[in-house]
């Protein structure tokens, strides 16, 4: 067994275990941290598949930015565990149905019937100087330029919508305008008054 295989099994096991922990641990912060570990191990698996650009971007975007905000929100919320566990029996049938549907769908899409060396040829190994980033960029900005741009616009719309939905202007909030503060001049703040000295009585 080569080093790569050992690494694969280590990180695959880590990924499966931490993904299970995400839904089984009670503390929401720990769940979020296990999700981080899941992302991290999947990034390592991508790295083993020679997709180093995607692996690093996964770490950069999901681990470095998205999950930080997640943790932030979870830390700020005062989650009441008793309230969360209420109604478990009531929602159980519905939950089981959804879970079964999801499992069926996943098996249909990525089941063993669709994979194997007879279905997809073994990917060729690239030389050490193969530039994954360049290859991806070449495809992304030529063949797939329109889907790529549409995805970008969709993301922009989502950002604008999220800000528009959550932004509210409260009446009477006071905030400073730094541009006014720094453009103030002496005459607006200080007035020197010339007067004769007061006489002692």
């Amino acid at each position: 067994m080569g080093v790569e295989k050992v690494l694969f099994y280590i990180f695959a096991a880590m990924m499966v275990i931490s993904a299970t922990m995400v839904i089984t641990v009670r503390n929401p912060i720990r769940a979020a941290l296990f999700l981080v570990l899941t992302f991290f191990s999947s990034a390592v698996l991508w790295m083993l598949l020679e997709a180093e650009f995607l692996a690093i971007v996964l770490v950069l975007v999901y681990v470095g930015a998205v999950m930080v905000l997640f943790l932030f929100v979870v830390m700020m919320l005062d989650i009441n565990m008793d309230r969360l566990k209420e109604g478990f029996i009531r929602y159980l049938p519905f939950g089981v149905l959804i879970a079964l549907l999801m499992v069926g769908m996943i098996i249909y899409v990525v089941g063993p019937g669709n994979f194997g060396l007879d279905k997809i040829a073994e990917p060729a190994r690239h030389a050490a100087d193969y530039n994954n980033t360049k290859a991806l960029g070449m495809v992304l900005y030529t063949d797939y330029v329109y889907p790529f741009e549409i995805a970008a616009v969709l993301l922009l719309v989502a950002i604008v919508a999220a800000i528009a939905l959550t932004m509210r202007r409260r009446e009477g909030t006071k905030y400073q305008k730094p541009e006014q503060q720094i453009s103030v001049n002496r005459n607006e703040r200080v007035r020197l008054v010339k007067m004769s000295a007061e006489q002692k009585k």
């Binding site: 770490v59 950069l60 905000l69 943790l71 932030f72 830390m75 700020m76 994954n132």
Partner: protein, 366 residues
């Protein structure tokens, strides 16, 4: 006379060559890691000493001068003191997370050094996506801080963690855009290629065409490392010591090491991406000058120029701390989101036009 010595070396080499190739590679990589980390740790120790001395002189004090000649052994004494102190775990804290967060803080700070080139080819891992790796790994450092703040079960620590989380996320965007400028200019994500793209003379270095991005990168770097004037996360006068208020002994020292290793890293990256890394500022002088035995080696490119440039940036870090009052929190956010990000976006457009127009001397049609 020295025969026994050469025999000994030959014996060691023979042992090394008898190992299988995989073991040889692993061994050499480990040796390189040690050769990189040991000087780095010494740098961190003496950076704390330099900080206390320089800020001392700026404030008309002497700084530490009791331990060893002129105080030179002060960092060693500090390290020994911290090692022998007890690590107190607060009641009600989350023990595992409390102990794991210093590790999460220092691991990325050290892992980034793998891709930093010190000289032509003198780099631990020469990977194509070096710049992206730097961005990804440095963005992991925030976890140590956030988890430390939460696991301490202390209101000051949590407040510090909240402040730092928002600050790091905000400044990372400006920093990322500044790096986009660098990779557009160099046409490569490999840090060694980026340095080579700047060869020519002092005016070929990217500080000139990317001047706004250079300034924004360095200021964001100061904010990312939580140094004054952006040190609201620690803010001694407001929230005691911020996220590491509950830490003592070696656990605290590890946070401290991570902060200073990050400072040195920002200095190294700024030197590599904007001041030409190991390139000499005297490049472009006649060839005869570089042929002179000692003078040529000093004036020619090499690791010493990178170290000089890094020292300059590190001095700026200390200088800022002695000079500026702490920013107010809302103004930090305003500076990050409303000033830096628009400037970087505009400069990226300007840069794109400059590259398209083949503006000499940085870009040519060839």
């Amino acid at each position: 006379m020295f025969d026994w010595f050469f025999n000994f070396i030959n014996w060691l080499v023979a042992i090394y060559e008898s190992w299988p190739l995989g073991v040889q590679i692993t061994f050499m990589t480990l040796v390189k890691i040690v050769a990189l980390m040991a000087p780095l740790m010494v740098c961190v120790a003496y950076l704390t000493f330099a900080e206390r001395k320089i800020i001392g002189y700026m404030q008309s004090r002497l700084g530490p001068n009791r331990v060893g000649p002129r105080g030179w052994l002060q960092p060693i004494a500090d390290a020994v003191k911290l090692m022998f102190k007890e690590i107190i775990i607060p009641t009600g804290s989350n023990k595992y997370l409390f102990l794991i967060s210093p590790i999460l803080s220092i691991a990325p700070a050290l892992a980034v050094w793998a891709v930093i080139p010190f000289n032509d080819g003198m780099v631990l891992a020469d990977i194509n996506a070096g710049l992206l790796y730097v961005l990804a790994v440095t963005s992991l450092g925030v976890y140590g801080v956030i988890i430390a703040g939460w696991a301490s079960n202390s209101k000051y620590a949590l407040l510090g963690a909240m402040r730092i989380g928002a600050q790091i996320v905000a400044y990372e965007i400006a920093m990322g855009f500044a790096l986009v400028g660098v990779l557009m200019a160099a046409g490569s994500l490999n840090l060694g290629e980026i340095v080579k793209g700047q060869s020519g003379s002092i005016f070929h270095w990217y500080w000139l065409p990317l001047l706004p991005l250079f300034l924004i990168y360095f200021i964001s770097g100061v904010a990312e490392t939580n140094r004054a004037p952006f040190d609201v996360a620690e803010g001694e006068s407001e929230i005691v010591a911020g996220f590491h208020v509950e830490y003592s002994g070696m656990a605290f020292a590890v946070f401290f090491l991570a902060e200073y290793a990050n400072m040195i890293l920002i200095a190294a990256l700024a030197a590599i991406m904007f001041l030409g890394g190991w390139l000499s500022p005297f490049q472009g002088l006649p060839e005869a000058v570089f042929a002179v035995p000692v003078l040529g080696a000093v004036l020619g490119g090499g690791i010493h120029w990178l170290l000089i440039k890094m020292s300059f940036f590190l001095f700026c870090f200390l200088w800022f701390r002695a000079t500026f009052p702490r920013y107010r929190y809302d103004q930090i956010m305003r500076l990050g989101w409303k000033v830096f990000i628009p400037i970087t976006i505009i400069w990226l457009l300007v840069l794109g036009l400059m590259i398209l127009g083949n503006v000499p001397p940085w870009w040519s049609a060839a």
